[in-house]
Subunit: 220 residues, 2 copies
Amino acid sequence: MTKEFPKTPRNQVRRIPHRGRYDKATIYPIIDEALICHVGFALDGQSYLIPTLHARQEDRILLHGAKGNRMLKHLQSGGEVCIAITLVDGLVLARSVFHHSINYRSVVLFGRGESIEGKEEKLAAMEIVTEQILRGRWQEARQPNQKELDVTSIVAVTIESASAKVRTGPPIDEEEDYTLPVWAGVLPIRPAVGNPEKDLRLREGLPVSPSVMNYSRRGR
Amino acid sequence: MTKEFPKTPRNQVRRIPHRGRYDKATIYPIIDEALICHVGFALDGQSYLIPTLHARQEDRILLHGAKGNRMLKHLQSGGEVCIAITLVDGLVLARSVFHHSINYRSVVLFGRGESIEGKEEKLAAMEIVTEQILRGRWQEARQPNQKELDVTSIVAVTIESASAKVRTGPPIDEEEDYTLPVWAGVLPIRPAVGNPEKDLRLREGLPVSPSVMNYSRRGR
């Protein structure tokens, strides 16, 4: 398995190229930290986007949904998709409006899919998808039965091409603007979890699950 | 101005249709609360996605970037885009793996763009874009000069068709699963801001700007 995706016209970062990265060591942790992705596909020259949950299994992105899902059907019939994943890390507040920006880590990848079939293969894929939502949850919850597997489509998109774009650090202003009396810096943003809200029909006396208490998206 | 987008084959919510909404009163606050969107466009049958900052001006989405930006050039030449905006509100943790989900508010819209030209028009658009990042910032920071405006493209995408999809509330389990000894409920997620990190070259004695102290994305 190579460690880097080749730079091609399709995945090359054109705007601010020094922010572009092509190595899996940068790209895969961004995919793994994100809870959702956006999947784009073209039908009759029209682009469609769908936000959805995802998980990574080595060099493949797993997508799942109900049988009949248009995006999954497109993939099952050999269609190509573009998948974007974006993590926002903060507002970059410069002294000039022009140099305002955000700190972010984003990935754009391209690939074609293949349907995952067979009970064991589907269960293995659903475990990865479930653990991507919440680590440890697969063992806590009731696992899918045959009927549930039958109505679920799972597709694995092999990553053919990918790039990441990353901005970190403080604002960069025009040299003559540094003396302006304008507060400048970064306002960090990150997804924070609130207190778990228990289901009103929860069985009495059940403590909050370890998976919920240990929720974290970093370092996956 | 009508209050609702017509339901057409293009914008109709097909999966779990009762989550679909077509009224501006639902759609516009989602667009306004989000910091970024994903823009999809088709070139030669291939779909491309770009994450970017956005702002709404009545029935138009404003997108901006450097002159030469491929997505903006596509729009300036009359091309169509699909724009998706997704806010994640929480993990929905059911007793069964199958009924796991997330609470979210998402919008998918379609439209074509037109270039915003002329100094006054571009400044007005940049003000809306800047205020979308951080309310109050336009008056605090140095506003764009002619040279900066000249290297910036701004495009307004008129929303031709749009739909929102919203999930709220607790997990819905199979009736027979409610007795399982599995903690179920919702783990709320929201973007939280950290402490402002001042630029190392900040002029001495400058307090954090009111815009930063008052940052909030709700109720825009």
